[in-house]
């Protein structure tokens, strides 16, 4: 045994620690499951953003695969993902918006300026519906199946990568299911 063998102990201990930390990195905090996954979407009824006299509710999601995107004009990350949502809409995905703790004029101006990917927006001024849906930051995006059951929750700004590899395949799969 060479003379330095016993002085290798700190290095070996460190390498074991690194292996642990590496393993820790692969446990992605974004995949922490929402308790709402595979549960019916929480019931809500809110005035629409553009036409406050009309209401949006779970009934609008029935029978078709739908995305619900939680956003606000004060949210910088929402601005990042907005163009990606516009792209997603062009590919024929139904997107509803939940305009979260926002002001009507600001939200309408935002949609005029950056484009409107939403079929309609529910206006959640005091954030109560957001609480029921377990929203703890914007943006968040829920994927809801034909039966109105939440199948996926995406936390943070949607990237093009996530659209290609997560959202579109899931939407396709849910559409083919009966």
């Amino acid at each position: 045994m060479p003379a330095y063998a016993r002085y290798l102990a700190p290095l070996l201990a460190f390498l074991a620690l690194t292996a642990l930390l590496y393993k820790g990195l692969s446990i992605n905090p974004r995949t922490i499951p929402s308790p709402l996954i595979d549960k019916p979407a929480p019931a809500f009824r809110l005035p629409a953003l553009k036409h406050p006299e009309q209401f949006i509710s779970n009934a609008d999601f029935q029978g078709k695969v739908t995305l619900l995107n939680v956003w606000a004009t004060w949210c910088v990350a929402c601005r990042q993902e907005h163009q990606n949502l516009v792209q997603l809409r062009k590919q024929g995905v139904r997107i509803y918006g939940l305009n979260y703790k926002d002001k009507r004029p600001a939200a309408e101006q935002w949609l005029q300026q950056f484009g409107n990917p939403y079929i309609a927006n529910a206006f959640d001024a005091d954030g109560r519906v957001g609480i029921n849906w377990g929203v703890y930051g914007t943006p968040e995006t829920f994927v809801i199946d034909k039966q109105g059951i939440i199948r996926h929750k995406y936390i943070g700004p949607i990237t093009l990568n996530a659209i290609q590899n997560e959202i579109l395949p899931l939407v396709k799969q849910l559409r083919e299911a009966d």
């Binding site: 002085y7 690194t18 990195l25 446990i27 910088v76 990042q80």
Partner: protein, 666 residues
């Protein structure tokens, strides 16, 4: 334009770091003076570019340039100026830039204050620091560019996390980073010595003041963080064993072991392998702290920004830096000489004992911090290691450490006669046991812990007084004290004295606040009065108040005792304009012997409010003790002996090299 210049300055700093990491080191190995001489100018150059980059980011915040993504995420036009500046290090990218900037400050400090050291040594130290700098600057540029633009620019920024809008937290990260990064100097000295194969007393003497200063900053940073948590989190706690707190506490513990071990190596030439390993460990734990905080591996209340890709980068960086340094250690350690021997009872033994205890505590803190991760990795389920586990661990090991700590300053180097030591300690032992009994007895069983803690604190205090008395007994008066203070080794001794006194005060604070604090959660209607521990609290309702960037519900509570008004407290519940989560701001009446702490809960029906009232005895002593300990470190570092050697060396030089030195300075 200015952000782009800042970005450009970062790139140039990285280029300089690469040159600094390679050429001075090679120059020192093949003895090429022109290459070793490059180290200092390169360090100064890096500092200039990083200072520019940092100033550019500050400028972007001050001018509310929301076209910079980082500013848009953390800045806001309505924030007070001080928080616009502190927002620079309020999130991931900016705090890394601060890290790199502070590293360059330490580099120029090393470059400027090491004129008496051999050029080869300085070149190696600065080269190692250059390597660390490469890691951080590439991390910044490749994964976390603070100058990235966003288009179109938002009209208003998202604002700094309101939790961080507090004076304590504005200065806490720079202090902490000065400490974290300062440990890189001790680390670089250790690596440089390992490369040269020469670990001697001189190496320990060079490293010691740097380590002490870094340790002082680290301690101050931790104290500030604790003070912030107490003020801002609204539940009266001062330490939570949160992963991020632990991340700063572990390097401090290792640093504490290191400053003591360095003392032994400097004075007696012993413990060399151990000291060099501690120097590597202290900085490794600083880097690990950065990894834990920034990678999102551990979920924590502090995890404001976390990203797995960034985590991967830091992990690889950790592997390279720590892995290669430990490999170098393994290769060189066998050839390090053993140094001075010592008997079973000697100051060396006591210091070694305390070193081991400190490292055991560090290891246990690391284990507790990583336990959730270990469980996850092996699929054993989810656990969280909380307060009780850490407290038990701490209470088990600290008493033994305090016992050794009291005895060590009275013990001789190399050999100590047991009987003589006992005679010196007799009085201190008697007094501390008496104090323990006096505190523990009147309240019986419940106060055993308080009795032990007070006993330990008195033990520290009396042994310190004994030691000072022995030192000064042959010369009386204040003038003798002053002469002793300014003598060689004087400040080193009094630094130790004050640092240990700080620990005694800290123990008192922790014991009293944990054993005797009183908490009442109450529902109060306006004009209602409640008495807690002799203090009468009158609730005078809640009124709205408009702050610079928030609206607050501001409560008014009159506190009186024996009919005299003690304080009027205004706890607040703030809602910041850009964030919807309300923040609590406690109302605190500060006192040396007690704090009165009121925090505002939820509004209830009919104008009633839920309130939390605290009586916290001696809580200030926790931070006072912590600050004294840090101050002790600073005092030790300023000991004239570190400068005297410098003078001796300069005057000892022959004429040509003396003129060379003068030329260098010009």
């Amino acid at each position: 334009m200015i952000p782009e210049l800042g970005h450009f300055a970062l790139i140039l700093a990285l280029c300089l770091a690469v040159v600094q990491a390679i050429f001075p080191l090679i120059g020192s190995l093949n003895r090429t003076p022109s290459w070793t001489a490059m180290a200092r100018p390169l360090a100064y150059g890096q500092f200039v570019f990083l200072a520019f980059a940092f100033a550019a980011l500050v400028h972007a915040f001050l001018t509310d340039d929301f076209s910079v993504l980082y500013v848009a995420q953390n800045g806001n036009t309505e924030m007070p100026t001080i928080y616009k500046v502190s927002a620079v290090w309020g999130a991931h990218e900016g705090s890394l830039l601060l890290w790199a900037f502070i590293l360059s400050i330490w580099m120029i400090a090393v470059a400027a204050f090491t004129r008496s050291l051999p050029d080869e040594m300085v070149a190696r130290v600065l080269s190692v620091m250059g390597m660390i700098s490469i890691g951080f600057l590439s991390f910044l540029l490749f994964t976390s560019n603070p100058f990235a633009r966003i288009f179109p620019a938002p009209l208003q920024g998202a604002e700094l996390n309101p939790l961080l809008q507090d004076f304590g937290l504005a200065i806490h990260p720079p202090m902490l980073y000065m400490g974290y990064v300062g440990m890189s100097v001790a680390f670089s000295f250790a690596i440089a010595a390992l490369i040269g194969g020469k670990l001697d007393n001189a190496w320990a003497r060079w490293s010691r003041p740097w380590t002490l200063v870094a340790w002082m900053f680290l301690g101050t940073g931790i104290v500030l963080g604790s003070w912030w948590a107490y003020n801002e989190l609204g539940w009266g706690g001062w330490w939570f064993w949160d992963p991020v707190e632990n991340a700063s506490f572990m390097p401090w513990l290792a640093g504490t072991a290191l400053v003591h071990s360095l003392a032994v190596t400097e004075k007696r030439g012993a413990f060399k392998r151990w000291t060099v390993l501690l120097a590597l460990l202290a900085f490794s734990l600083s880097l690990m702290g950065t990894f834990l905080v920034r990678s999102g591996v551990l979920t924590s209340v502090h995890a404001f920004a976390s990203d797995p890709a960034r985590g991967m980068f830091i992990l690889v960086f950790l592997m390279v830096v720590i892995g290669s340094s430990l490999l170098l250690y393994a290769l060189r350690a066998p050839s390090i000489s053993r140094g001075g021997g010592f008997d079973a009872l000697s100051r060396e033994t006591l210091l070694l004992g305390n070193n081991l205890i400190l490292i055991v505590i560090t290891a246990l803190v690391l284990l507790g911090t990583l336990a959730p991760l270990i469980y996850d990795a092996f699929n054993w389920g989810k656990i969280s290691v909380g307060f009780p586990w850490f407290s038990t661990m701490f209470i088990t090991f600290t008493p033994l450490m305090i016992l050794l700590m009291g005895a060590a300053p009275l013990t001789r180097w190399k050999h100590q006669d047991g009987g003589e030591l006992l005679r010196q300690l007799r009085l201190a032992l008697l007094l501390s046991v008496a104090a323990a009994i006096v505190v523990a007895l009147p309240f019986a069983a419940d106060n055993g812990a308080a009795g032990v803690a007070v006993g330990l604190s008195v033990w520290l205090l009396t042994t310190l007084l004994t030691s000072a008395w022995r030192r000064l007994r042959h010369h009386g008066g204040i003038s003798a004290l002053i002469a002793d203070f300014s003598s060689r080794g004087g400040r080193s001794y009094y630094g130790m004295w004050i640092a240990h006194l700080g620990v005694a005060i800290f123990i008192i604070g922790v014991t009293f606040v944990t054993q005797f604090d009183i908490r009442k959660d109450v529902r109060m209607s306006p004009a209602q009065e409640i008495v807690v521990n002799g203090y009468r609290f009158r609730f005078d309702g809640v009124t709205p108040r408009q702050g610079p960037n928030y609206v607050a519900q501001r409560g008014t509570i009159h506190v009186s005792r024996n009919g005299h008004e003690v304080a009027v407290l205004h706890p607040e519940k703030r809602t910041y304009n850009m964030k919807s989560r309300p923040m609590t701001e406690a109302g605190i009446d500060v006192g040396l012997f007690r704090d009165i702490y009121v925090s505002l809960g939820e509004p209830l029906k009919g104008g009633d409010w839920a309130l939390r009232l605290y009586y916290k005895p001696m809580v200030r002593w926790i931070w006072l003790g912590g600050l004294l300990t840090a101050l002790g470190g600073l005092l030790s570092a300023s000991d004239p002996r570190y400068r005297l050697r410098v003078l001796a060396k300069v005057t000892g030089r022959d004429v040509p090299s003396n003129t060379l030195a003068a030329g260098e300075q010009a």
